[in-house]
Symmetry: C2
Subunit: 285 residues, 2 copies
DNA sequence: CCGTCGCTTCGGCCGGCGCCGAAAGGACGC
DNA sequence: GCGTCCTTTCGGCGCCGGCCGAAGCGACGG
């Protein structure tokens, strides 16, 4: 399926560009004259034209997201699904050729992977790790919420604030509310960190029918906090968060709205959540 | 002291991606034959110059780190201390005037704060949140470790890999080892998330003499995982991580090496760590 | 087999931005 | 007061990179 990997499974950037072997990360040469100061001094020794104290790696990653169009692509892909090149182009409002170039860069940079099917090129985030990276970044930039300028936007933002997916788990008021309810009912504890309690572990296997083996064996953390973007409070992510989200979707207690990230709690879902976790339907309406 | 803030206390402005409509990708359904871009003026409508689906906010943040020099500055500041403009300039190997411009951008972007003293301009990371952001980013980019090209570099990298600070807590083999020891001795549990145990909480207040009130009242999480950059395993961060680091430094069980992030365990420290947590000195030598 | 459609390649344009050096502005110390 | 030192401002240079449109390629589907 997925056919094109960048050299590394993770970010670091695979020199695997389609065209040529160009690459050559950031200005390696540094012709600027000089050079001075061969390390005579202490640790923070100045000079050394070929500095590169590791900043170039961070910068290379940041550069991938430093463009409005690429950032928009990544945010769109945070819904966890695959999009075609054309869809992304229309979504971001750029020409198809422009989209192609951006997609290539994102793939080469290891943020995306692709799967070609016929004349379509599907891309999606390379891994849950990448999704986590994006979550973390967006969590660090939100505070002041800008008011929507049109009714459409207002409606859309309200829907997103109410409930949405964060790649593979639930977020928004819905996600935070579920997390809060789990904490109140002793399934989760946030007092000394962020972890499921033993009761919480039992709840996942017994009530949600999730195989204990799966919970144990995953390489990903069972539970971790993901700072909610609209609520400014943590919600549950990690394997447990993903399984809960999947469970609710499978039972149609939560439905996606359109193709974006927004979700809605169904009638049956309200009943189920009140029943399972004692969540007041009004809190997530 | 700190005199210059960017407009926002935090980073960027709030995004918002109206995920309302657009198209549904997903190989399965593929309803896309018909009707690309319905909904007049809808989300994915091209030509609409005002696209901006929130990507611009993410991009603005990323742009701050998308330059080698700025990224180098930020990484340097991750040692948690304040640096002068000139120190940063020499460290990164750029002219003082260039450094000034970068520092201005970082301050305006909310990543740094400054304190002017006489003819010096001291800057440091704006908050632990920013430090966390940087940690998260660096954690997501390391995998392939580039070999050092010179003996100096090799020595420096080895020192960093052995032990360093990660803004306000310990990282490197030392940090991971402490975290591991705490887990083995039942002070910390990572089975169902990442949190201190009750024994761990008691250990902090009793053995380390940290006021219980301080642990309770902090806005920051008591314990959180920070993915270690060289070890590829989590180490302890959050209030507990910071206090442990401070405690070890105050007792001179751990010393800074030079002005960078590297630290070293002292003789007395080896004894103390073996005594407190059963850490084998060889493991952190 | 041919038209359509999605994607890609290529050339060209343009703006942004990172860099520097020279010169100026303050602080400090003598 | 007068050098010295740290920092800033300004002008100028050059390149990178994002954008588009036109043309080409390959997959479908009649």
């Amino acid at each position: 399926m997925i056919s094109r990997f960048s050299g590394s499974t993770s970010l670091g950037g695979g020199p695997d560009s389609p065209g040529a072997a160009s690459i050559s990360p950031s200005g390696a040469s540094t012709p600027l004259g000089a050079d001075p100061t061969p390390l005579g001094g202490g640790p923070a020794s100045p000079g050394d034209g070929s500095a590169d104290r590791g900043g170039s790696h961070l910068a290379r990653l940041a550069r991938l997201l430093a463009d409005d169009t690429r950032a928009t692509f990544c945010l769109a892909l945070l819904n966890g699904q695959a999009w075609t090149a054309g869809e992304l182009a229309r979504y971001a409002g750029v020409a198809p050729s422009t989209a192609t170039e951006h997609i290539n860069r994102l793939i080469d940079g290891g943020l995306l992977v692709e799967a070609r099917q016929g004349r379509h090129r599907y891309v999606q985030l390379a891994s849950p790790d990448v999704a986590q990276l994006l979550e973390e970044l967006t969590a660090h930039l939100d505070p002041p919420r800008p008011p929507a300028r049109s009714l459409r936007q207002a409606t859309a933002s309200a829907a997103l604030a109410r409930g949405r997916t964060c790649y593979d788990h639930l977020a928004g008021r819905l996600g935070v509310e579920i997390t809060g309810a789990m904490t109140r009912t002793g399934l989760l504890q946030q007092r000394t960190g962020f972890a499921l309690t033993d009761a919480g572990l039992a709840w996942l296997t017994e009530t949600l029918d999730i195989p204990a083996a799966e919970l144990r064996e995953s390489r990903r953390p069972l539970a971790r906090a993901c700072l909610d973007w609209t609520e400014r409070r943590p919600h549950l992510a990690g394997v447990a968060g993903a399984r809960i989200c999947r469970y609710l979707m499978e039972h149609r207690w939560v439905d996606r709205i359109g193709s974006g990230r927004a979700v809605r709690v169904t009638r049956a879902g309200e009943v189920a959540l009140a029943d399972l976790l004692g969540i007041d339907p009004a809190a997530i309406a």
